[in-house]
Every structure is written in C-alpha cells, then in structure tokens.
C-alpha cells in the first residue's frame, strides 16, 4: 500500500486513555500526519477490525544514542557478532535500508528499526554529557523512524556546583537554560547528584542527600533543589529527571525516600525506581522496600517515576554513575569501562546478566513488578527497563505480559530464587492484572504526558498520527512484540509485521530563554578550565523547531 496523505483506520478497538477511550470500536482518521475528526468518503482505509489500536509507544527513559552507548557498543563485539541484523526489505525510495548488529546495544539503524517493530515511535536517550551532545545528534541522525531527543546531564557539572556553592541560584538557572540549548537537549538529567564528582575527586561517592561534597556546602539536596527549581521555573515540558544517589545498594530506599521528601511540593521525575528501592544493608539481608517507596509516590501527585524493570537475561549496565559501575566491576569481575568526562560527569559500563537463580536479581525483578502492581496512578508510574541496564527494550512485550497475566508472573516465580523475597508484596501474592488501557497508559499516554508532549501518546484531533495496530493474540508477549501495523506521522512504517519504510524522525529539544549577561561568566569559566573553546561547545543548529515551552 502506498502512503496516502489521508487514511482511515477502520473498525479497531481503540485504546486512547488520554481521551477516555477504552476499547471502543471506532475509526481513526488521519490527514497529513495528524489525527483528524473525519476524512472524506473514499479515503483509503486500513482494516483493523478485530484488532487493538493504540497511539505509538513513547519511551521516556532509555540509553541508545550517546557517546557512552557507543563506548558500550565498542566493548561488546561478541554481542554484535552473535546478533547480525540484515537490512530490512524497505520499499524502494522509502529511506535507507541498512544492516547492523543487535545485542543489548544495537547499532543506530537497527535501533530505529527494532523500536518501530515494537510499535514505539518516540524515545529519549536519558543521559547525555553536553560535551558530547554533538555525537548524540549524529547518532540520532542515523536512528530512523523515532521522534527522539536527549536529556542533558547536569548534576555534577563543575560550573553549576560552583554556583550552588556560591548561592547563585539565579545564575544557575540561566546556566541550565543555556546548557539545554547548547546541547540541543529536551530535559535536565541528574545522575547521582554530587556523587560522580566525589568519585572523580577521591571522595569516592555520596550516598546520602545531606552529605557534603568535599569541604564545600554543596550537597545532593542543594543540587536537586537548585535544578528542580530551575527546570520548573523555566517551565520545561519535563521536570528534572532524577537518578538518585546510592543506586543499586542494599538499604538505599532511605536515600530514595529522603530525596523524594526533599522535593515534596516540587515537580520531579524519579527514574528507574526499582534500582532505588532496596531494604537491608548494614548487615541485614537485601529486601524489598517497594511498598514504602511507592506509597510516597501514590501520595504525591507532583512526582512521577519510571520503573526500570529488571528482566532475566543479558543486559549492559551503562550509566554516568561511575562509582556504582566500579562497585559492580569489583563484585562481578566482568570487563569494565570508566570514562571521566571533564567538568561535567562520568561514564561507567559493565556487561551483566540477570539470572533467575540469583537471589538479588530475583529480588530486583520482584521489586519492579511490585512498583507496577502497587501503583495507584499508572499515569505517574510508567514502563521502562532503563534499556539496556535492566534489560533490552526488546523485553517490553514480555514485561507487558507479566503485568497483564498473573499466571505468567507465577510461572516465572516458580523458576526464580525466592531467598530474598520473603516479606515482599510479590511473595504475598499480588492479584492485579493490567488492562489493555492501563498498558496504553504506562507505555504511551503516561510517558507522553510526563514529557509534556501534547501531540504524542493519544489519538485525539491534532495529535501526531503515530499509531500502532496489534492483532489480538492470547500470547500477550507475542501480540506486543509484532504489531500488525505501525504508522509514523500518518505513514505506514510496518505492514503485516514487516518494516517497509524508515523515514527520519523528528528531533525533540527545547531552547529556553536566559539572561545573555550570564554567559560572560560561563565564557570565563570555559576560558580558564575547558579544553574545548566556548565557541565550539554548543551543537549549533538542531534539526526541527524546538518544542514550545510554557503552560
């Protein structure tokens, strides 16, 4: 089928929770890449009778297009050798047909193809050092189909830490605004606030939010408050996106809760929460603290999370959180990359496998599910595996099955190591099963709303015509792993389960305003300490207009 400017998707069961549509059989009309109320008779149709229609998937947090990801790709030749990707049979003239390789960190073209093949049409790389943002945009240029953007790492930025130490919050806000534009980024990312700088400067790490950085007055709390206020004051579409201190450590839930309480009343997003919900420590065995942490989230509408579910199988841990990767390297004995990134952040990489016979891995798996199943508001507790840290994005269909089918969870539990599960909610039996509408919320509508993407994640008039059509299947994982049709901006990219088009995606970024006078001090800082000239730092022109900022 050619790609008409108009199309009517006929007779599908539509799940569009943002517009209150829960499985109603209705047509979806498309014109010039947008959803419209109606199209003229005679418009070409796509028969979706008996099928499920949802907006295109939106991934709020993944790692797929960054200098760190590329370091990880370089580290994993054995994975790439084991998972070759032939060029798809794309229609003539419909975009480059490129081969590549897969594994936990696929090559760029394969990433775009595979996301599209799952029905995902929007995704964000969640951790980009502004110094290397130019690299991210080059990778995104080579990542087809996806509308995509990136989050800029700021929680350990030398200039910002100096402003916080000096109590210069206004200057910090201007710097945040400038840095977002300079990096062509969409949101502010905070990873282990202050902890990466501690790792680089010999203090090794900061694990509590009031722990001072060296001899300064800078603490994780001060960093978080400053950046949260800056992001909210700038009216960014997405609030600060926080990877808390003490990731992956037994007993870290106290730090997580302290962080959430510190930001109570402020809009904030807490990412891969599963990795921050551990009880135990100080001699006590690891345990689940999911119930306690999700209770806070349930009670605080200004806060949102993505889960960062662990899935059994291979993963690659890649994060700016250098100290945690050193610990993982020390305990796992796997190969390890650390790259300190000047004046800004770090990078650590360790390949890893979550084994169902391993007690801690099973606990992590269970905690993620507990967070999903105990969440009262799916709009604020959305799906991620922190790809590729908890597992590949290719595991999303299997995760959806776990959420929708208690028997699938129980079967997995039988095979897993129960040693650390006692007392956790999953061991007590959580009967909840997600509905299709709830799946639509946690994979599309919720992430889009949290990201402030007004035209994504729904099928109302004016929305981008990113649509996924699934053939119903009793095997839920199979159903979600191979949609029958995927439309991107109104064009069919997947037909009969096959990728047929690979158009370039749109770049999602913001460009907030700031006081130009503040740049004089930033330039002085660059002149004194940076190895990159101030005038060479900003990425320059980014494809597509910035996303509008404001209410």
């Amino acid at each position: 089928m050619s790609a008409p400017a108009r199309l009517r998707i006929v007779g599908g069961a539509v799940h569009d929770p943002a517009n209150g549509v829960d499985g109603d059989v209705r047509d979806v009309c498309i014109e010039d890449g947008r959803i419209v109320a109606s199209v003229p008779s005679g418009t070409p149709t796509l028969d979706a009778r008996g099928m499920v229609v949802m907006p295109g998937g939106v991934d709020i947090h993944a790692h797929f297009a960054s200098s760190s990801c590329n370091h990880a790709r370089r580290l994993l030749p054995e994975e790439h050798t084991a998972d070759p990707v032939r060029a798809p049979a794309i229609l003539d003239g419909e975009g480059p047909a490129r081969s590549g390789t897969g594994g936990t960190l696929p090559t760029t073209f394969a990433t775009g193809y595979r996301y599209a093949g799952l029905g995902y049409t929007t995704a964000f790389d969640a951790a980009v050092a502004p110094l290397t943002a130019r690299h991210t945009h080059a990778e995104l240029d080579d990542t087809p189909v996806l509308d995509a953007g990136c989050f800029a790492l700021m929680g350990n930025d030398e200039y910002l830490l100096r402003q916080i130490a000096a109590g210069e919050r206004g200057r910090a806000s201007d710097y945040v605004a400038w840095l977002l534009g300079a990096a062509g980024a969409y949101a502010v990312k905070v990873v282990n606030p202050g902890g990466i700088e501690a790792w680089k400067s010999g203090q090794r790490n900061l694990t509590e939010i009031d722990q001072p950085l060296g001899g300064t007055r800078v603490t994780p709390r001060a960093i978080l408050e400053t950046l949260a206020d800056a992001a909210n004051g700038l009216r960014l579409p997405h609030p600060i996106h926080i990877h808390c201190n003490s990731l992956g450590q037994a007993g870290n839930s106290t730090t997580t809760l302290a962080t959430m309480q510190a930001l109570a009343g402020r809009r904030a997003h807490f990412t891969h929460l599963q990795f921050h919900c551990y009880g135990g420590g100080a001699g006590a065995p690891w345990s689940s603290a999911a119930s306690t942490v999700i209770e806070h989230v349930n009670a605080h509408p200004e806060h949102s999370v993505d889960v960062g579910q662990v899935m059994f199988g291979p993963a690659t841990t890649v994060t700016a959180d250098g100290p945690v990767e050193y610990l993982l390297y020390s305990t796992s004995g796997r190969k390890w990359v650390n790259i300190d990134i000047e004046l800004e952040t770090g990078c650590g990489i360790v390949p890893y496998t979550y084994k169902e016979k391993a007690a801690v891995a099973t606990l992590q798996w269970a905690i993620g599910l507990e967070l999903f199943l105990l969440a009262k508001d799916p709009w604020r507790v959305v799906l991620s595996t922190d790809h590729p840290n908890g597992g590949s994005f290719l595991a999303y269909p299997a995760l959806i099955q776990l959420l929708m089918d208690r028997s699938a969870r129980d079967e997995q539990l039988k095979r897993a190591n129960p040693k650390l599960l006692a007392g956790g909610a999953i061991a007590d039996g959580l009967a909840r099963e997600y509905s299709l509408n709830e799946i639509a919320i946690v994979t599309r509508a919720g992430p889009a709303r949290l990201l402030g993407l007004a035209q994504k994640g729904h099928l109302g008039v004016g929305a981008d015509a990113d649509v996924t059509v699934y053939a119903r299947d009793a095997d839920i994982a199979r159903m979600f792993s191979s949609p029958r049709y995927v439309l991107k901006a109104g064009r069919l990219v997947v037909e009969e389960g096959q990728l047929r088009r690979a158009p370039r995606g749109r770049r999602l970024h913001v460009r907030p305003g700031f006081d130009d006078a503040a740049l004089r001090d930033v330039r002085r800082h660059f002149d004194a300490y940076s190895t990159v000239a101030f005038d060479n730092y900003a990425v320059g022109d980014v494809p597509d207009d910035p996303v509008r900022i404001g209410p």
Partner: protein, 419 residues
C-alpha cells in the same frame, strides 16, 4: 580577511585536535595559523589542494569519474577504506556505500592502532577526556612516549596547563618511564628505565604492587617500577599516558594489556585514567562512526549481508583477496603497509590530494580537507566531537561526491557465507 579570528579553528595535524587556532587568510590562501604547532603549521600549509578529476590518469569529467568509481566498487569484491582528513559526515556516507555494496570496510586504525582497542574490548578500560588530565592529575606518568614529538601541544594544553580546577599549577609530578629507546618527556622530574624485554614483567609487577601483592628480591629496574606503582597508588589522580599508535620503535604486544590492567587496578586505592594518544585526521571519528553504524570500530566485512568483525585481519592483509578499493580520504595518509598492498588493485580515491597519490590510481577525485575546506564534525583522540569550519573554498565536498557515488551503486544482494 580573517577566518577563525576568535581562535576556534580545529587543527587535525594530530589527535590533539587543538581548537584554539586563529587562522588568517589572504588571497584565498592560509597566511597564518596562530597557536598551531609545527605539525599544525605543516598540516594547514597554505591550504591549497589540487582540484583535479582523473580516470586512468587522464583528466575526466566529474560525473564520469563518479560513475566509474561507483562501477568499480559495485563490481566487488571490494573494500571501502577510510583515510584521514575527512569529516565524520563523509565517513558515515562511505560506510553506507560499503553496506550497500557488501564491501569490506576498514580504516587507518586496523594497521596502526588496533592493539589497544582490542585490549579494551577484552578488558574494558579506565580512561578520561583530556580535560580531566589537565584539571585533576597530580601525577602524570608517560609510558615510553614523549608527546612533544608526535603530539606537540599535548603537554601544554592537556597535561601541564597552569589553569586547573582541582590542582595547583605546582602540584603536578611528572614521571617518565623510558622503555629502550622510547623515552618520556624532558619535562619529567623523575624517570625510570626499562629494557624492552622487562616491560611486560614490570607492568605485571606494578599491578601486583597496586593490589598489595609484593614480590621480594627484584632487580633494580623492576624494583623501581614497583616503587613507581606505590607512588601512583598514593596520588590523588593518576594520568597514565601512552601512544596508541604504532611508532618507529617495536612495541611489546603485551604493553597495552599491561597498561589497561594497571590503570584499572589503580582505581581501587585511588583514581587513574589511561590516555591513549592517537594521530590526527579524524581517525577517532572513523572508529566512532563505524561503531555506531556497524557495532565494530574497524575491520568490518559486509559480505554476508551484515557487518562481520574481522579484527584479526588488518586492511593490509585483507587486501590480498580484494581486487577493488575505494579510498575515501587523504591519499597521503594511507599507511605504508596498506599503500604497498594496493599494488595491482583497481583503486579509486575520493579525498584530499587524490590525484597526487603515491600509488597507482584508476579514478581520482580531489576533494577538500576537513577543517580547511569542509565543515562538519571531527573527533579528538579522546572521542570528544568538535565542529570544524570551512576556512577557504576548495573542491566539491567529499560528502557531496560520496552521495553521488551512493546514488549510483545499487544494493547488492547478500551472498551466502560472505566472500
């Protein structure tokens, strides 16, 4: 007329990619390059490059040469070879051509810098961008390398710059480890000497010392090495520097393995980063682009219909079985071993000074030099991407010529089992 007057031009004379070069232009030629070192001045020259197009050594129309190059590469078995001095945009386009035609794809890296990358793939690495060496390293150890020779501004810009965020200017200690004739910099305040045959043992003993395992009764040179290891473990941030490129002196193949292991071990008692010096011309960009498009940094075979890694066979060896080669980049930047292996092959060159290649060329299409005639992205030796500007006009851009070639090559069906 002055271009880059604010001092933001990027020099690709070596992998330092100094981006503080102020270029002056007069009469369409480069008249000055303030801040450039001797290598940089030689790299810039006056910016003049030929703008010829030849087929069989005879001047030809550009379209005809492009068609001939496309036919040459499409008739495989072929290799697309990334030579220096092109932007990453051009590298990406060249990789696409290799993918579409099922060619072998390689770069300068496989014959000059593969050893360190392969160790990194086996073990990982502890590294940093260059600014961290400048801002944090209170102890710099130069292992069998004096950057002043092939990376002239490395010391002043990245190691010993007086302005640093975390250490005072006088707070640095510089140690040279001389291995045979390969000596460290004169700026070193201390140095130890190792015989080449002792190098691997020294690195192993140093790592053991860092891990707290002492070996008594060592000969003086090895004892000095373990003393240095203990000194490194007491430092706050160690910058360990070696040459990632092959040089005039033969290198123990275990050197890279030993240095990577030592740097990683030092991150137990303190912090340490290993700096692997790389040559210029945007070589690191080729590694990066190949990695994100294929999963591998060099030595890729698209013959099976997907990227297959052949790291055991550098370009100079792979050319034994390949009759057709498209070189993209500076012809004078092709390593001697590869240039020698081109004998008897049908070769097309699209790049700076293609028409002046020292080897026999069937098709030559001169293009401009990245950062002189062509704008785009290049990579510093530490994988930091930088923008380059067009300073003076030149021949049609490399990426434009490559797109024309790409438009002419069809997609070759994959062959079972590769070549």
């Amino acid at each position: 007329m002055t271009a880059g007057a604010a001092g933001r031009a990027v020099c690709l004379g070596c992998g330092c990619a100094c981006d503080d070069i102020a270029i002056t232009v007069s009469g369409g030629r480069i008249a000055g390059a303030v801040n450039a070192c001797s290598l940089g001045l030689a790299w810039y020259g006056d910016g003049s490059v030929p703008a010829r197009v030849t087929v069989g050594g005879v001047p030809a129309a550009r379209d005809a040469a492009i068609r001939r190059a496309a036919e040459l590469i499409a008739d495989g078995p072929a290799m697309v070879y990334l030579a220096p001095d092109i932007t990453t945009e051009a590298q990406r386009e060249a990789i696409a051509i290799a993918d579409r035609t099922g060619a072998r794809l390689d770069s300068v890296t496989s014959d000059t810098a593969a050893a360190g990358i392969l160790v990194g793939q086996r073990r990982g690495r502890a590294a940093a961008t260059l600014g961290e060496f400048r801002n944090r390293a209170d102890l710099l150890v130069f292992w069998a390398v004096d950057p002043g020779t092939r990376y002239p501004r490395y010391l002043s810009r990245y190691a010993l710059n007086a302005s640093a965020t975390h250490i005072p200017a006088a707070g640095r200690t510089v140690v040279a480890v001389d291995v045979g004739a390969a000596r460290g910099p004169a700026e070193a305040t201390a140095r130890i000497g190792l015989a080449p045959g002792d190098e691997a043992a020294a690195l192993g003993l140093m790592r053991a010392a860092v891990l707290g395992r002492e070996v008594p009764g060592l000969p003086p040179a090895l004892a000095a090495a373990t003393d240095l290891a203990r000194q490194m473990a007491r430092a706050r941030y160690v910058g360990l520097v070696h040459d990632g490129e092959t040089g005039p002196e033969p290198v123990d193949p275990q050197r890279a393995e030993g240095l990577v292991g030592l740097a990683q071990a030092l991150n137990g008692p303190t912090r340490c980063a290993l700096s692997s010096l790389r040559a210029g011309g945007n070589r690191s960009g080729a590694d990066a682009a190949m990695t994100w498009q294929t999963g591998f940094p060099f030595a890729v075979d698209f013959g099976p219909g997907f990227p297959r890694y052949r790291p055991e066979e550098p370009a100079s060896a792979a050319l034994r079985d390949i009759a057709r080669v498209l070189i993209v980049g500076a012809a004078n930047g092709v390593p001697p071993a590869v240039a020698a292996a081109l004998a008897g092959r049908r070769v097309a060159v699209i790049g700076p000074r293609a028409s002046q290649a020292s080897f026999s060329v069937e098709v030559a299409i001169d293009t401009g030099v990245a950062g002189i005639h062509e704008a785009g992205i290049v990579y510093r030796m530490d994988d930091v991407p930088l923008p380059v500007l067009q300073i003076i006009p030149g021949p049609p851009p490399t990426v434009t010529v490559l797109r024309s070639v790409a438009a002419m090559v069809g997609t070759r069906p994959a062959k079972a089992g590769g070549r």
